[in-house]
C-alpha cells in the first residue's frame, strides 16, 4: 500500500478522475490521490477495472486493414497530382 500521507478523496471526486486515469491524463498529486483511493475503495477499483476493460475492447477494433484496391487508388491519385 502507498504511503498514507495522501488525502483520501471522496468517491464522487474519484469518479470525476476515472477517465483521466485510464487515459493516462492525470499526474502527480492528483494521480497519487486517485491511486490511494482505489486501493481503499473496492467500488471505485471495480469501476476503473471495468472502464479499462471496455477501453481494451475498443482498442481491439484497431486491427482493421485497408484493401489493396484502395492502396492502388491512393497511389493513382498521388501520381495524378
Amino acid at each position: 500500500m502507498k504511503k498514507s500521507n495522501h488525502k483520501n478523496i471522496s468517491c464522487e471526486e474519484a469518479l470525476k478522475r476515472v477517465f483521466d486515469y485510464i487515459d493516462d491524463h492525470i499526474q502527480n498529486t492528483s494521480r497519487d490521490e486517485f491511486e490511494y483511493h482505489i486501493e481503499l475503495c473496492r467500488h471505485c477499483f471495480d469501476r476503473v477495472e471495468f472502464e479499462k476493460l471496455l477501453k481494451s475492447r475498443l482498442q481491439a477494433l484497431r486491427y482493421k486493414r485497408s484493401s489493396e484496391w484502395l492502396r492502388e487508388r491512393v497511389e493513382d491519385i498521388i501520381a495524378e497530382f
Binding site: 469518479l15 470525476k16 476515472v18 477517465f19 483521466d20 487515459d23 493516462d24 491524463h25 473496492r42 467500488h43 471495480d46 469501476r47 477495472e49 471495468f50 472502464e51 476493460l53 471496455l54 477501453k55 475492447r57 475498443l58 482498442q59 481491439a60 477494433l61 484497431r62 482493421k64 486493414r65 485497408s66 484493401s67 484496391w69 484502395l70 492502396r71 487508388r73 491512393v74 497511389e75 491519385i77 498521388i78 501520381a79 497530382f81
Partner: protein
C-alpha cells in the same frame, strides 16, 4: 499546382504507411465500405492539394486525420446521408451521463462475481461496432481517436483544434452514449435484465 515527382514520392512514402489508420478512422465514421474508401480517396486528394502547406512532415498523421474529419463533415452536408454533425457542449441529457457499470454492477457480490466485466466479455465485436456507429459522429470521432487509435488528449486537441477541456468532456459524453447503446443492446439480446434505477453521474 502540380506536385513535383520528388513531392509525389515524399507524399506517397508518408501516406501509404498511414493508410490503415485513415481507412479505420473513415470506417468508424461511415460504416460502409464504399463510402469509407471514397472518404479516404477524397482526403488524399485534398492532402495532395495542400501538401506544400505542411511545414513539419513529422506531423503528417494528425494533419491527415484533420483533413479526413473536415472532408467527412463536408460529405455529410453534401450527401445528407449521415447524421448532421451538430452538438452543444453544455446540453447534456440523461443518455450522456449514463454509466453501464452503475447499471450492471452488484456491489453486494463483493469478491464472488463481476457481472459488469462478464457482460463486457460477452459482447461481440459486432455489438461494439454497432453501438459505436449509433452515437453522434462528433462524439464518435473523439472516442475512436482516443480508444481505438490511442491518441492523447493533446493530439486530439490538435486534430480538432479545440481546447483539451473540450476533448475531455466530449470523450466523457461519447463514452456515456456508447455505454447507453451497449446497455440497450445487452437488454435487447437478453444478456442482462433492465433495471429501474437512476443514472449515475460521471
Amino acid at each position: 499546382m502540380k506536385l513535383t515527382s520528388e513531392e509525389q514520392r515524399q507524399l506517397k512514402d508518408r501516406v501509404l504507411p498511414l493508410l490503415d489508420d485513415l481507412h479505420r478512422l473513415a470506417y468508424h465514421l461511415c460504416h460502409d465500405e464504399n463510402d469509407t474508401e471514397d472518404l479516404v480517396a477524397e482526403t488524399i486528394k485534398k492532402a495532395c492539394e495542400k501538401f506544400r502547406t505542411l511545414r513539419d512532415h513529422g506531423k503528417i498523421k494528425p494533419w491527415l486525420f484533420r483533413i479526413l474529419r473536415n472532408t467527412f463533415v463536408s460529405l455529410c452536408r453534401e450527401r445528407k446521408k449521415y447524421a448532421t454533425i451538430k452538438y452543444q457542449e453544455d446540453n447534456e441529457n440523461e443518455d450522456e451521463r449514463f454509466s453501464l457499470f452503475a447499471e450492471v454492477s452488484q456491489p453486494f457480490l463483493l469478491w464472488w462475481g463481476n457481472p459488469e466485466r462478464e457482460l463486457v466479455n460477452k459482447l461481440l465485436e459486432e455489438d461494439i461496432k454497432q453501438a459505436l456507429s449509433e452515437i453522434q459522429p462528433e462524439f464518435r470521432f473523439v472516442v475512436v481517436l482516443c480508444d481505438v487509435e490511442g491518441l492523447s488528449y493533446r493530439e486530439i486537441s490538435n486534430i480538432l483544434d479545440i481546447p483539451i477541456g473540450t476533448v475531455r468532456s466530449r470523450i466523457a459524453r461519447g463514452r456515456s452514449m456508447l455505454q447507453r447503446k451497449l446497455y440497450d443492446h445487452a437488454v435487447e439480446k437478453g444478456l442482462i435484465r433492465k433495471r429501474d434505477r437512476h443514472y449515475e453521474k460521471i
